[in-house]
């Protein structure tokens, strides 16, 4: 079993790694690169805790092979804040108490950011459907949806 | 003497009495008194019980005082999620 050499960009950082052919991008991020912000809740694409974007497209990193990242741009929760400046979504999630245990939070933030990039003014229903692949068991989603909609409003005002 | 209300399925070990009298001024005396007077209760007491004393629930506090006129009720030992 020989490893594959991958050259990629993660949160803008040029990154190289060796991985096994069957290894997922999530495993690479967590076990090889020490980026444990992306979580594994199911490993089957049903919970969204491992959400990242790949060339700007929201995906479950548990359903992407590490080898597929070659030449791609990967963005994870670790790259969401700019230096010490939190992304507005991150700030609003804390302000709205939109997390309890916090295990789903990284995936939901990555997914919500992807939503707002495509749709700066989502309805409640659009936000709920976009985030349907991100399971949260603590909050009942109420405060999450409020935080997303409030962030969207704030970002629209700021732009 | 303290009147102790016990739950229904324990009456098999208290001669069918739902309320039994025990000489006790603390929770510890109550529990040991129950086990001595009604040895059939011992397995349940060993597995654990909670005790309501005047409407407050106690699990462990041996020296919790019990007044002669206190309302004392034996409960299945509480646990939560």
């Amino acid at each position: 079993m020989s490893k594959i050499h991958v050259t990629t960009s993660i949160n803008g950082d040029p990154t190289e790694y060796l991985c096994d052919p069957e290894e997922t991008l999530l495993d690479v991020l967590r076990d090889r690169l020490g980026m444990t912000g992306s979580k594994e809740g199911c490993g089957t694409g049903d919970c969204g805790a491992c959400s990242v974007t790949m060339d700007g497209r929201l995906v479950c990193s548990c359903l992407v092979l590490g080898a597929e990242a070659d030449g791609a741009r990967i963005d994870t929760i670790e790259g969401m804040a700019e230096g010490d400046k939190l992304h507005p979504l991150q700030r609003k999630f804390i302000e709205h108490a939109a997390l309890q245990c916090g295990i789903c939070t990284p995936g939901i933030l990555v997914a919500a950011k992807s939503l707002l990039e495509r749709n700066p003014d989502p309805t409640e229903e659009e936000a709920r459907y976009w985030l349907a692949g991100n399971l949260c068991r603590c909050t009942g989603y109420d405060k999450i949806i409020r935080a997303v909609l409030d962030t969207a409003a704030e970002m629209r005002e700021a732009s | 003497m303290v009147q102790v209300k016990i739950w229904g399925s324990l009456t098999a070990f208290t001669d069918d009495q739902r309320t039994v009298e025990i000489e006790a001024s603390t929770l510890r005396e109550l529990l040991s008194g129950l086990a001595e007077t009604y040895p059939g209760l011992k397995p349940q007491l060993d597995r654990g019980v909670s005790v309501s004393i005047d409407g407050r629930v106690y699990n462990d506090s041996w020296f919790q005082p019990i007044k002669p006129d206190s309302e004392v009720v034996l409960l299945a030992r509480l646990k939560g999620g």
Partner: protein, 285 residues
């Protein structure tokens, strides 16, 4: 295990044909990686077709659309002209899994995974889509309903794979729709699915129809009697009743963790009726 990522179709065909072991095509990976993780698939090689540029394109062809096997549902959904012609097919792709899954999953993959409950398959069948199959013996086009043969089984020969799906030119005054039933609002596998397309004449009489059911048999079911129930009618209540009855009649479901026989049989008719109403309005009635 080997990971192969050819950049041309010819290379892909050659690699697949020459692979001595179990070589699986990786398009979106949303089924394959799940199977690998559960141990249900243990391939010797994986052939990733996403680096083949031709297979990532949606191209106009003969008035219709050719959709490369590596095009994701999300990309289809963002293609305005394709969506205008075949909203039912695009919506079916857009119902597969979550936003995250839709960023990866493909029509070809959904077809070749050969799940009886695949969302996009009844929609493609209703649209009379064909699959272009490539392999060591050349290229052939087959109706999509002939690709799956039963749960997890396809008619693809050794070394063959689906390179693209072709959606034919949309007829004037025609419309399509796909509906599925799931217990939640998202994230579930179809308990019943119904794809339907129909064409009306100037008087609003249905001149052509095609109805396909998913998850109520070992593979997608084309219900000719359902189409006949619509053709020649104004797709009115009586026709819809006949359509629903024909669909329930054609359904041969099993009972499993997702639904009972009775439920699936009944809901096949309910969905057909609702899909026909949507398709009719899309046809301009």
């Amino acid at each position: 295990m080997r990971y192969l990522a050819p950049t041309s179709l010819d290379d892909a065909v050659q690699l697949l044909a020459s692979d001595p072991g179990d070589c699986r095509i990786l398009a979106g990976g949303t089924d394959l990686l799940v199977r690998m993780r559960s141990g249900m698939a243990e391939p010797d090689s994986i052939l990733d077709i996403k680096r083949i540029n031709d297979l990532r394109q949606i191209t106009a062809e003969d008035g219709g659309w050719r959709i490369g096997a590596a095009v994701s549902s999300a990309e289809m959904n963002e293609h305005t002209a394709l969506k205008a012609d075949w909203p039912g097919v695009v919506e079916a792709g857009d119902l597969i899994g979550s936003t995250q899954i839709q960023g990866r999953c493909t029509l070809a993959g959904n077809l070749c995974n050969a799940s009886p409950a695949a969302d996009s398959v009844p929609a493609m069948v209703a649209a009379r889509a064909t699959a272009r199959i490539v392999g060591p013996d050349g290229t052939r086009d087959v109706p999509v309903e002939d690709v799956p043969t039963g749960p997890g089984k396809t008619s693809l020969g050794k070394g063959e794979f689906v390179a693209s799906i072709f959606l034919p030119a949309k007829a004037d005054r025609s419309g399509d729709a796909y509906l599925r039933f799931i217990p939640r609002t998202e994230m579930d596998i179809a308990v019943v699915g119904c794809g339907l397309s129909l064409t009306l004449d100037d008087a609003g009489i249905c001149t052509d129809a095609r109805v396909a059911l998913g998850a109520v048999g070992p593979k997608v079911i084309v219900v000719d009697a359902a189409a006949e129930a619509l053709i020649g009618t104004q797709v009115d209540d009586a026709a819809l009743d006949a359509l629903a009855a024909a669909c329930s009649n054609a359904a041969t479901p099993i009972a499993d963790k997702r639904g009972t026989v009775e439920f699936r049989t009944h809901v096949a008719g309910v969905l057909a009726r609702r899909a026909a109403t949507i398709a009719k309005s899309r046809a301009g009635a």
